[in-house]
Structures are given as C-alpha cells and as structure tokens.
C-alpha cells in the first residue's frame, strides 16, 4: 500500500486563496491594501463608520444636538454620564485604539520587504504611518490623558502590561513623531493619492496636541480631581504660560506650510454661504488638510438596519439622521447676518411660527449652511428636490430648533461625504486662541477675523483678553459644529458653566403647536422647552478606561470612575 509514502502529503493543508504574512508585503499593490486599512481604521476614530445601528455623533454629547434616538449610545451617556462598564464617548472603545496602531506599525516595520517600491517611497510610507499613529495618540491624549505608549507591533508573548505614561511623555512622543513625519512627508500628493498624510496634516496633529496641552485642563499643577502621586497622568504638573506660545507657533507653522507648501487657503469669494458650504462639504476642497475619505455611496444601505453606513447618521434624508436636531443651547451661539445676537424666546415662552421663520431668515451664513429650519427647503441645496422641506422631514423626535444638514451643501443626491478631520480654519482659530492667551491681541484678532469675516460677519475688534476669549470660544462652537471639536473644547477650557446648560444641565430645544410635535406644514407656534436634563460631574473631564481592561491589573483608572 502506498499510503505510508503519501502520508505526509495527505495531511498537508490544501492550497487556498488566503493571504498570509509572507505574501502581503511582497509587492507595492498588495502592501497598499495594508496601508489603506491603516488609514481607514486610524482616521475613523470617533466617527460612526462601523455600521453600528446605535452609533452616535460627538455633538449628541456636547449639548449641541439632542442625544438622538433613544437607542443610540449617546442617550445613556447624556442622562447617566460615562461609566467604566459601559460604552463611552469614543464608541469604538479604548481597546480598539490599538489594532489600527498595530496595523500602522506592521506596515512601517514590513514595508522594506516590498520588492518593487523605491526606497524614497518606503520612507514616505513609514512617515505616513508615524503621522497616523501620532493622530490616534493625539486623540487619546485629549480623551484619556496619559496612555500606554506602544513603540512597535507587539507579539502576544511580549510583556504587554505597559502602564500609562505621564501626560508630558505622551505629548512629547506625539510631537516627536509628528516632527519626524513632517520632515519626510510631501506637501502635496499627486491627484489620485490626495488624502494621504501631508506635511501640513502632520503639523496639524502636532498643533492640536500642543493646543490642548496649553488649555487649562492639562496646563495646571492641580488636576480636576486629585490622583495623588499619579497626577502626572492627567495634568502637566504646572501652569506654564509658555505652552500657549508653543501652541501659537505650532498653529502658525500649520498655516505657513499649508498655504505655502500645500496650496491650501481659506475660501473667501465674498459669498459667505457658498464659501463656508464649500469648505465643509466639497470633497478635497482647498481648506481640507486631512479628511476621512470613506465613501458609503448607498444612502442608508437601502434601509438595512444591521449595516448602517456613516451617511445614515449625517445625511438628513435618512430616517436615522433625522433623530438628531439642533438644541437651543447651540442655536444661541450663532450670530445674525449683521453680527449681532438673535433674540430667541426664553425658556417656556411661546411665539408664533411666523416669528420663528422670520428669525431663522436673519441668521448668519454658517447657520444657513448647517441647518434647515422647519417648513423650509435647505438653504445649502437650493432648488434641489432631495433637500426640500418634505424630503428631510421624515420621522424625527418631533422637537428641535432645526434639522442638521451640514456637510451636504449642494450634495444633491450624493449619499456620502468626506468628514473633514483638519480644516485650515482650525489652525487659524488655534492661533487666535493661543495668541490671545499670550496677550498678543492684534495677532489674535487677525487670525480670528480671517474666519469670522469669511462668514460674512463684521470684523471683531474686542481687545479685552477675557471677552475676546469668549468670542473665540464662540467662534469655535459655530465654525466647527459637528466636526468633533466642541465636546473636548468645552472640557479642556474648563468652562465654569459646563454643568449648567452646556454638557450638563437643562438641554433645551423647540416644541411646536402648543408644546407638541412639529408638523411638515401648518405649524402655528413654537416654544423653547427643556427636553431633558443632562448629567455632568467633574470625573467626566476625561473618559474612563473600560473596567474589563482595568481588571487585568496594569492600568490606573482615571479619577472618579
């Protein structure tokens, strides 16, 4: 019998079409798959792209929008606060920061094995991966404080009990990674590769980290809650005004590189509605330094609830997105077209619906690009059947100051959009905020007004540092609504009224027809009404680490959890 002879072959695994580690890093084409995956999974941080049916937007938590439908993750956080045992603000969960970081390290460590890629390109790929890792760490730095630093792709057999590094060390790592990456990265990519890391994007990551290091939450000797010997995990140990100078210079560096090297600019053609719309909605516009280029081109995935695409949460033509409406708390931040404040009816005050329409029509361009009030077609898609009053009305919660249509200006039937991770405008506002803190009011006003005036508003002339600070903070809230800045801005500014009408406290919105639900047409009046009371406690300045990870015994929990 010949069985003995073929014994070894008989038990051999059959040839399969699967890719193994030996085959993935052989050619440029294959390696690009690993690179693409690193980009998507790193840059998707905090965004509802993973097809969750109960995902949320960061603005659901900041008081800018209601918490959305009752099944979203946001509801529990808004009403009960964050807890170590529950899903938290970053949705993905703390543990899921590390798989994409690992992916980036795997690419960085293995790209040299690719046989058909020029050495220069390999160096750029490595720099891209460092910048991506820096981005994810910068986001963790803002959300968690000090976190464990991973310097390579770890093996399961390595000692994995890596403790949290002090805040300063995490900051230094981010800055050094960004510096190293920016030195190698191109200022611009060829058209077909637009969207990959550039020098300006790496500098923007660095700038965002340094800005948060300068802000009061971390730039202090006294943390928000005492952790004793481990206070260095949640504050920088001293209040140092120089951190603002560093932040200002970092922001200026972004502006210089982006405009001179990358060809970016603040779009200002004199038509504020169109300009702001273009800056926030048009893929790869001149203002975008880095975007999440993730395209779900089927609206709502045809209604498949097990596979909700990102557009289901942002595109107001989708039922799910219609659960998110504007709150009065945020509405009050917007200026009128003439730069003055709008007077809205106070809490529990009722006014006629025509008054509502009149006041809405007086709002500034950024408001009109971002929202669609009731009984109106969207200003940002003029004449488009997809954005008529009836097209986006659907099935919302019944209350709300207006519908949210940001990112979809002149999108028409296009389902997808590119979430702008860094816009050049953020560098201007970062610079304005930092210069104001260093007392350089002129520089601050110059940077601020570039953005403020682009929105069609008269220039700001305030020179009092405190008052100007409030104006700049208000500018952030308006300019970057729904762009995942606000929630952490509020916390890092340590605003004194954070718990009474911003993140916590009464969250207000508008009810219609004597306190009831809004109608497609024929509304009679509107009332500003408390829709719920959100919870705030100081522990929520930073996110908890999940209890399941704490139970492994190597992590120190943030205070209060």
């Amino acid at each position: 019998m010949a069985i003995g002879a073929c014994k070894k072959e008989f038990l051999q695994m059959p040839v399969s079409s699967a890719t193994t580690v030996d085959s993935v890093f052989t050619t440029t084409v294959k390696a690009q798959g690993a690179i693409a995956n690193a980009y998507r999974n790193i840059l998707g941080q905090g965004l509802p792209w993973k097809n969750w049916w109960n995902a949320m937007l960061q603005e659901n938590l900041s008081g800018g929008m209601n918490y959305g439908f009752s099944w979203t993750m946001a509801k529990d956080i808004v009403l009960n606060g964050m807890s170590a045992a529950a899903t938290n603000e970053d949705m993905d969960g703390y543990a899921n920061n590390f798989p994409p970081i690992r992916q980036a390290y795997l690419v960085k460590e293995n790209i040299d094995k690719v046989t058909d890629m020029p050495e220069g390109d390999k160096a750029v790929v490595k720099a891209e991966m460092m910048a991506l890792i820096a981005y994810r760490y910068e986001q963790m730095f803002i959300m968690y404080g000090g976190v464990p630093i991973v310097n390579s792709s770890l093996k399961a057999s390595d000692s994995l009990a890596i403790p949290r590094s002090p805040l300063q060390q995490v900051l230094d790592s981010i800055v050094s990674w960004c510096d190293a990456a920016a030195a190698v990265l191109p200022s611009k990519w060829p058209d077909n590769w637009t969207g990959r890391m550039t020098k300006a994007a790496a500098l923007a990551i660095r700038s965002k980290a340094l800005l948060h290091a300068a802000r009061p939450l971390f730039n202090t000797a006294t943390p928000y809650l005492d952790m004793g010997e481990t206070n260095n995990l949640i504050c920088l140990g001293s209040a140092n005004a120089n951190r603002w100078t560093t932040a200002a210079n970092a922001a200026e560096a972004v502006i210089t590189e982006a405009e001179a090297g990358g060809g970016a600019y603040i779009i200002n053609t004199g038509n504020p509605l169109d300009d702001y719309s273009t800056a926030t909605s048009v893929p790869s516009n001149a203002e975008v330094l880095l975007a999440f280029k993730f395209k779900n081109d089927v609206l709502f995935d045809g209604g498949n609830w097990n596979n909700l695409p990102m557009n289901a949460f942002y595109n107001c033509r989708v039922w799910e997105a219609q659960g998110n409406v504007l709150t009065t708390n945020q509405l009050e931040n917007y200026y009128k077209t003439d730069g003055t404040n709008q007077t809205w009816p106070g809490v529990s005050t009722t006014a006629t619906f025509s008054d509502y329409t009149t006041r809405m029509n007086q709002m500034e361009a950024r408001f009109r690009s971002t929202f669609q009030p009731w009984e109106m077609d969207a200003w940002n898609n003029p004449g488009d059947a997809n954005w008529k009053n009836a097209s986006t009305f659907g099935n919302g919660p019944g209350f709300g100051c207006a519908r949210v249509v940001k990112f979809y200006a002149k999108a028409g039937g296009r389902a997808w959009f590119e979430f702008p991770i860094f816009r050049l405008a953020a560098a201007y506002l970062s610079a304005a905020e930092a210069w104001n803190e260093t007392g350089q009011t002129t520089k601050a006003l110059d940077r601020l007004n570039k953005i403020h005036q682009r929105a069609g508003l008269p220039a700001v002339t305030e020179t009092d540092q405190t008052k100007l600070r409030a104006i700049i903070q208000r500018e952030w809230a308006i300019e970057f609504f729904d762009e995942n800045y606000r929630l952490h801005d509020i916390k890092h500014w340590k605003l004194s009224n954070i718990g009474s009408g911003i993140i916590g406290g009464p969250i207000r919105s508008m009810a219609f027809n004597n306190g009831g639900g809004v109608k497609l047409t024929g509304n009679t009046n509107y009332t500003d009404k408390v829709i719920y009371t959100a919870v705030w406690s100081p522990k929520q300045y930073l996110n908890p680490f999940p209890q399941t990870e704490i139970n492994k015994g190597y992590l120190i929990q943030n205070p209060g959890y």
Binding site: F10, N41, S153, K295, K552
Partner: protein
C-alpha cells in the same frame, strides 16, 4: 407461545446481557442476529460482552422500530443510559433530535460522532436511516473504547450496526405500519375580543408619559368594536384552525429477506416511508403539504471463499424527497403565532382576493395556497467493502482485514413559485402582483462525499488460562463537503477538504475467564494543525473482574452474574468550532479606503487576521469510568457507571492579553471543563401464573463546570461565567414590578431606587435587583440566574405485561435540572410588540385603570402591556426563566401474537398485530403553568401519533 413471550421480554430490556436473554434470543423464531447479545459492539474486536471492561450501552433495532417516527433520533429517548436526546421540531423532514453523550463536557464543539458498520458517517445520513435496517445502536462512552478514536472520540461515539444475514433457511419479514399524527401541543393566542381589550390597555400604558405620567385610559378599539368581537360579528380568525388539518399521516412498509449457507449469507431490506404534515392544503401541481417520503434499499452480503477469505459487500442506498409549501417552516409558524385574530378575514370580502397588509403580508392560509411549493431531492449511497484474510497458516488466530467505505450524498432543489396580490377593504395594500405559477428547475444545493479505508491486523488466541484478542488498525479518512455548509469557524468555507489518519489498537487479555485487562490507544494526525504538530497519542487502560466466576459466588442462587470494571484514558477532539488552520498567519480583506481628488480611487484594505498560534492543537479529554454489572436471581439485571471527564486545551481566544497588544487575539488551547456523573439501569422480569411482566428503569446524570474559559475579567465577580455550568443563563434578578409609589410626579424614579439602563421605566415594568449596589441596573448586575437548557438528569422507565399472546408495554421518559427560557416561545411571551399577538399568559398583566374597573396591581404575573419594544421588560432575567422539567409517555403499545397452532395452518412463522401511541401524554411545569411544550415551544410542533401495524414472518 413461550418463545414469543420470551422474545418480547428480550426486546423490552435495555441491556440484554444475561444468559437467559441470550437463550431467549437464540430460540426466537424472528430475525434477530445473535451478535447483539453475545458480542459487545465496538471497534476492531469481537469481544464477548461478559468479558468487556467498558461501559457500552446498546439497544436493538427491533426495539427502536417500536417507536414509529420518521427520524431515527426520535426513537432513542430513554433507550441508552448516558445518551441525552433533546427533541426538536416535528416538521416532516426536519425533525431530528439533538444528541449528547454524557451531557456536555466542552463549551466548544460537543457533538458526538456517528459510526455505521465500522465507518464514520454524517448525522444527516444517520437521521433518516430506517430502524428496520438497524441491528443495534450502541453508545461508546468509556475511556478504553474512545481512546481508539484518537482526536475524534472525546465527545463519544454512536455506534450503529446494520442487519446481516446468517446461515439458515430463507426468511421473509414484512412489516406494515400506518398512523395518524397530531401536534403534541399548540399554544393558541387569545381571540379577537381579548386581544382588543388588552391592546387598549397596552396602548394606554404607552401614553403614560404623554399623559403627564398618569394612567389615563386611551383605548384604540371602541366599545362597539369590542362588542362586535365579543358577539362574533367582528373578524375573529383562529389562524391555526384555518391553516392546519386535524391530523398528519405516517406510514412505513418494509420487507426483509435473510438467509444463506455456510459460505454465503445475505440480508436485503426494502423500506418505504411517507409522512404528510399538518397543513390544510392538498399536494398537487400547484400546492403542497409538508411531507417527506423515503425509499431505502440495503443489501448486506457475506462470502467465504478459498478457506482463508471472508468478504462483505454492504450497499445502503436512499432517496429522500421533501416537499413543502413555498412559504413554510419557522416563518409560517411564526405568522400563525403572531398574526392577531382580528387582523383581517382570510379573503378580502370586498374583492374576494387574499387578505394582506403591509404589516401582515403573509396571511397564513394564502401562504399555503397561493405561493406554490418547494422541494428537495436527496440521494445517499453508502458502499462498504470488506475483505478478511485468516492467516492461521502462519500462526493460529492471526488475520488481516482491509475495508473501504464510500459515502456520497447530493441534494437538488426544485420548486414552483407564484406571488399573489394582497388586499384589505378592497384596496391593494402592497406592491405584490398576482403571478402565474412558475417552475424552477432542479438546482444542486448540497453535497458531500466521504472516503475511508481501514487496514487491520488482528490476533485471537487462547492458551490455557490465557485468552488474548487484539488488533492494530490504520484509518485514513478523506471527507469533502460543500462550501455552503462548511462554516464552522475561521478558514472553513472553501477549505472543503478534511483529512485525517488514525493508527489505533486494542489488546484484551482474560486470565482464567475472570480477570480482565485491556489496553487501547489511538494516534491521530489531523490536517488542522501545523506540519510539525499534527499527531497526538491517546492511550487508555481498563481492568475488570468477574466475581461471579469466583468459587465463593459460583453457585450463588442470588447473584448469577457480577462484574466490576474500571477504565481511564485519554481522547481528543480536533474539530473546533473556532475554525481550522489556526496556526497559519492570515491577512484578510478589511474594507475599502479612498484617495483622490476629482475622482476617487478605491483602495481595498487588508489587515492581519487573528494572530497565528503555531502550537494550536486538539482539545484533550481525560476520562475515568468505574462500573458494575450484576444479574440477580436471573430476574434482575443492574448496571451502574460513575464517570469523570476532565477537558483541557479547549480552544479559546486569548482574552487575557492587554489592549495595547492591538492584534486580533490568538486562539490558544486553554479552556478547561470538568464533567462528571452517574448512570444506572436496571431491568426486571418475572412471571405470575400466565402473566409475564417486565420492568426497566434508567437514569443518567451529568454535571459540568467551566473551570477556565479565558473570560475577559467582568466588572463584578458575580458576572463571571467561569465556575458555572456550560450554557448557564446569565441575566438580571427580577424583583417584582415597579409600583406607582416608586415614581416622582415627573415620571423619574424616586431617590434611592436604582436606575435601570435599558430605557425609561414606568409603573408595572419589571424591577431588577442592583446586585453591585452602584445605583444603576445594567449588565454589570448580570449573574447566573438559571441552569442551561441541557438537562442534567434524564430518566426513563418501562413496564410490560404479557398474557396469552397479548402484550402491553409503556415507555416513559423525562428530564430535569434544565431551564426553560420563555423567550424560546418568543411570540407567545412577548405580547403586542412589533404588531404581534397576545396569549393567555399575559392575561393578568399589571394594569391600573380604576375608572375602567381595572386594577391588577396586587395579583399581576406579567409586566404592564406595551405595544413598543421594551428593552427593560423583555430581557433575560429570572422573571422569564422557568423549570424545564418534564415527563412524557414516549411510547405505549398493545400487541397480539397469533398462537403457534394458528400460524402453522397459515404457513407463517409469526404474525403480530399491534396498536401503538407515541408521545401520548406529557407532564411539565411550563405546560401546566404557561401552556407551552417544554421541548418544542415554538414553530412546527412535535408530533404525537396513534398507529396500527402488522408484522409477518414466513
């Protein structure tokens, strides 16, 4: 006459073992192979039962035939100590029960394997093998027997032997049976009046918050509507009555030819079975009842030639035809369960078309009549060839044996389909249009084939007081399945080839006919593992002592047979549900990312799959078994076995790695479970005047505990599944209902009452205990609330009486220690949500509408009704967990055997007429209190049947 009586006694016993039974079988005129009583079924050796050191329980095919059911698994209730049989659906063609040997010892794959005539087969092949084809079924559960199966044996083996011919005059046996089948139980919802009445409560409850946190009665149905439902003028449809017939039918006919001479023996069996289901629709060109028919041919031939050769040619062929309405199975039954009685008349009165609405598109009656039918056509062939060379000329007792098995199965499907337009009140309600029926040709939908070869060298010899029997075997197995069915874990699907080799052996030694010892081993090489890590070696040893052969018991009148035995050994399982090739590092496609400016380029992403573990290997089982077999006064036989199974190396994902690792977690061999238990069986027979009576009982108990499963450390210690039995229910602890006094005026819970995190609550909702006292009720308050659904205790007892040719037997089987989750009867348990129905179970729901005279606060046994999804109430908690215990009368039979004198004049050997009842009675906790069948709570119900049959031998 006496012979017949003795035969009946024999087949009533579970473990025919003593001399009397053997004698009875020998003199029986019917076709019973003697090997069952003489030799213990099992691999390689022909070993007399009395000399066995293993705990093997067997049952004969003739006993199984007495339970007339289409699926062989449903004949096994209470037949084999150590075998747990869990009843499933009663749908024709889809009615297999789930089998476990000695409970469950692994939280990974715990499926047993099935051998037919010495070769492994699939469960699908076994399920529809007719009992008339079976000589015996045994379960191998003992360490010594299972070691020889190497990496396949850990979960136990079901060992099936088919009927063979034997030397003697040709015999023909004809058996005919037909019966009516009815559902064991159908739980019916409320009629239209109660539905509407309670719906009014539910909708009012839902308006509680809108009405300023007050219970204001805001009915949906008017009093006039309610009155019309009450007096019968309103629509009130009992969907079960409308869609179902009173009875289904079951018929089986078979003919067995046996006979042969010294050199040639044959057994030829033809069997036809047909089952027609419960749907009230004819089977014709455009519609079909649920049905299966089976054609079966088996030819087992034995040849001896040239003195040294013995050959066997066994061919088993089968065709299974299943046909159903095109809308059928669980979907159809859920429609019947959840479409309210008042939803619409069957046909729209205004147009005469089938009724249907957007919410209720699948009118059950229209689903049977208007959408056509679907069918499958299965062909199976098992062909085994065996050639033995007796090498006594080299040394007496030496032989070689080669055997090949080819098993192949294919399934094709065909259907005729149509759609119909739905109407309500004269208006078409959906976009469906009535279409003509369309035939869809036969498409292949499934297949497998299994090729195996066994090469054995064996030796049997007795030298004076020393008796040896032993064999060494090489098995090579090549299984190819269908990609569509190949989905157990990672890297399956297109990896359809399953290869393994096992070298195994047994050596049995008897000293002085009373001291017994056996060594066995299996060594398997599996293609699932890394090349350097493929082979595992699993030895076992057993000892036995036949005390009744000792001088001090030799002439004892009381103890006629007494044996003690013990065994210990290893076995394994390489078929993890986690997947194959876990040693190989894969990269898998993972989404798409875009680059580009004016036009986007899509870049397909790829990322590392789970981290490879080059050391991944088979799950290991260390088994111990101690047993005793005894026969007292030649009337009572008793067998008791105690076992312990320590599983280790169960494949788990390594959840203990820190988050910073960032890789998909590797699979490792680390899980541990301990399973232990006891089995006992006894049979008794005696005679009182002309009345012969028999009694038997068996009990199997198995209890397992997870000692390690790599669980992510939960928030609280009491959340852990570690340390608990496999499949324990984890959930919240219910603590009554919220009362009106628990709430503030603004609808919030009063200070100090824990806040549940599963949505807003109101009075009448289920309140839960905050076990960790953190003021919140959430998943961190989960703990073990109930046992698993697998019973820890199964038992059975039978009784038989015999008088002048008449015989009456009854078999009862029951289980306990299992839990029943009410969500298994989902539509019955969850009232109204998603436009569903309401059942009497919710008849006393919490409600408080004093103006309407409704106040059930004190007596409520169901949370307040709601028409909306309610994540707080309808979630796993102690509220919905019930005892799963039950007892059934599985089979009862009344028969009459014509006396020998009459038979002689008719030139017959045997003529038996009988009536039997399957599943005639059930007693259960959930049946009594909640109107639910404990084993088949929803979907196509299990069947009970009343049958008449005849057996004729000439």
């Amino acid at each position: 006459m006496k012979k017949v009586i003795l035969y009946i006694i024999t087949v009533c016993l579970w473990r025919p073992l003593n001399a009397q039974e053997a004698a009875a079988a020998k003199t029986d005129t019917s076709v019973v192979d003697l090997s069952l009583t003489q030799y213990e079924p099992g691999p390689f050796l022909q070993l007399k039962k009395e000399r066995s050191v293993t705990a093997t329980s067997s049952v004969s095919g003739n006993v199984l035939y007495r339970t007339p059911v289409p699926n062989i698994t449903n004949t096994l209730y209470g037949m084999l100590p150590g075998l747990t049989v869990m009843q499933g659906s009663g749908e024709p063609g889809y009615d297999e029960a789930t089998l476990y040997i000695r409970g469950r010892a692994s939280f990974d794959n715990s499926a047993l394997i099935i051998y037919i005539d010495g070769f492994q087969t699939t469960a699908a092949y076994f399920n529809y093998i007719p009992p008339s084809e079976i000589e015996s079924i045994s379960i191998l559960k003992d360490p010594v027997a299972l070691a020889t199966f190497g990496m396949k044996g850990a979960n136990g083996v079901l060992w099936v032997v088919t009927k063979r011919g034997y030397a003697g005059k040709p015999k023909v046996q004809v058996q005919l049976l037909s019966g009516l089948q009815q559902p064991v139980h159908i739980s019916k919802p409320y009629g239209a009046y109660d539905y509407a009445r309670l719906y009014n409560q539910a909708i009012s409850n839902d308006n509680y918050a809108l009405n300023g946190y007050q219970f204001k009665y805001t009915p949906f149905y008017t009093n006039d509507q309610l009155e019309s439902y009450r007096n019968g003028t309103g629509t009130n449809i009992d969907w079960y009555d409308e869609a179902l017939k009173k009875n289904g039918r079951y018929s089986d006919a078979n003919v067995l030819f046996t006979g042969g001479g010294a050199d040639t023996k044959y057994a030829l069996l033809l069997d036809y079975m047909q089952q027609r289901g419960l749907y009230d629709v004819p089977t014709n060109a455009t519609t079909s009842n649920a049905q299966i028919q089976r054609f079966n041919v088996r030819t087992n031939l034995d040849f001896n030639f040239f003195k040294i050769f013995e050959a066997k040619v066994d061919l088993g062929g089968r065709i299974e035809d299943r046909r159903n309405p095109n809308f059928y199975g669980p979907a159809l039954w859920s429609m019947m369960a959840y479409y309210p009685a008042n939803v619409y008349p069957i046909k729209d009165p205004a147009t005469g078309n089938w009724s249907g609405t957007a919410n209720y598109p699948w009118n059950p009656v229209a689903s049977l009549n208007a959408v056509g039918w679907a069918s499958t056509h299965d062909r199976t062939l098992q062909a085994n060839f065996n050639l033995k060379q007796k090498l006594d000329f080299i040394t007496p007792g030496l032989y070689l044996n080669e055997a090949v098995s080819l098993l192949t199965w294919t399934r094709t499907s065909a259907s005729k389909t149509a759609t119909y337009a739905r109407f309500y009140n004269g208006v078409q309600t959906t976009t469906d249009k009535a279409t003509d029926i369309t035939a869809n040709g036969a498409l292949p939908v499934g297949q497998y084939d299994w090729k195996q070869i066994n090469i054995t060298a064996g030796y049997n010899r007795t030298f004076g007081r020393h008796a040896f029997t032993g064999a060494i075997n090489f098995l090579q197995s090549n299984y190819i399945t269908d990609a569509g069915a190949n989905n157990r874990g990672s890297n399956t699907n297109t990896n359809i080839f399953y290869h393994f080799q096992t070298v195994s052996g047994r050596l049995h030694y008897t000293l002085n006919e009373r001291y017994l010892a056996e060594l066995s081993f299996g060594s398997t090489g599996s293609d699932n593992f890394a090349p350097s890590n493929r082979w595992g070696f699993y030895p076992a040893a057993g000892l036995g002592w036949i005390l009744s052969k000792e001088a001090f018991l030799a002439n004892n009148k009381l103890v006629t047979y007494l044996k003690l035995r013990a065994g210990a050994g290893l076995s394994a399982n390489d078929y993890s549900t986690r997947g194959r090739y876990l040693y190989q590092q894969y990269f898998t496609p993972n989404g798409t990312y875009y680059t580009g400016n004016s036009s986007l380029t899509s870049n397909s992403g790829i990322s590392q799959a789970y981290t490879a573990n080059p050391n991944i290997f088979a799950e290991k089982s260390m088994k111990y078994n101690v047993g005793i077999d005894a026969s007292l006064l030649n009337k009572l036989s008793v067998t008791v076995d105690v076992f312990r199974d320590s599983r280790s190396d169960i494949v788990i994902q390594d959840n203990t790695l820190m988050a910073v690792y960032g890789g998909a977690l590797p699979f490792i061999n680390a899980g541990k479970v301990i399973n232990k238990g006891i089995e006992a069986s006894a049979s008794f027979n005696s005679k009182l005047g002309a009345v012969t009576y028999t009694a038997g009982a068996m009990v199997s108990y198995a209890k397992n505990k997870i000692t390690y499963n790599g669980e992510i450390p939960p928030v609280n210690d009491f959340n852990k599944t570690t340390g608990r039995p496999i499949g324990s229910y984890m959930g919240l602890t219910a603590d009554g209902f919220y009362d009106i006094t628990d709430f503030n005026a603004d609808g919030t819970l009063k200070t100090g009452i824990p806040i549940p995190s599963f949505g807003a609550v109101q009075p009448g909702d289920i309140k839960y205990k905050d076990l960790d006292n953190n003021g919140r009720v959430d998943q961190a308050d989960y703990t073990k609330i109930s046992n698993s659904e697998l019973p820890s205790l199964t038992y059975a007892f039978n009784l038989g009486v015999n008088y002048k040719g008449f015989d009456l037997t009854a078999l009862f089987q029951g289980a306990s220690g299992n839990s029943f989750s009410m969500f298994n009867a989902f539509y019955q348990t969850v009232a109204f949500v998603n436009n569903t129905n309401v059942y009497p179970m919710a008849g006393n729901a919490w409600a408080y509408y004093p103006d309407q005279g409704i106040d059930t606060r004190a007596s409520a046994n169901y949370p307040r009704l709601t028409t909306r999804a309610n994540d707080n109430n309808y979630r796993t908690s102690t509220f919905w967990m019930k005892k799963g215990a039950f007892l059934r009368l599985r089979n009862a039979e009344l028969g009459y055997n014509l006396p020998a004198s009459v038979l002689k004049t008719l030139h017959l050997d045997k003529l038996r007429l009988y009536l039997s009842a399957v599943n005639a009675f059930t007693w259960s906790y959930v049946g009594k209190h909640y109107d639910i069948d404990p084993e088949t709570p929803a979907g196509y119900p299990a069947m009970k049947s009343f049958n008449a049959g005849i057996t004729l031998t000439f």
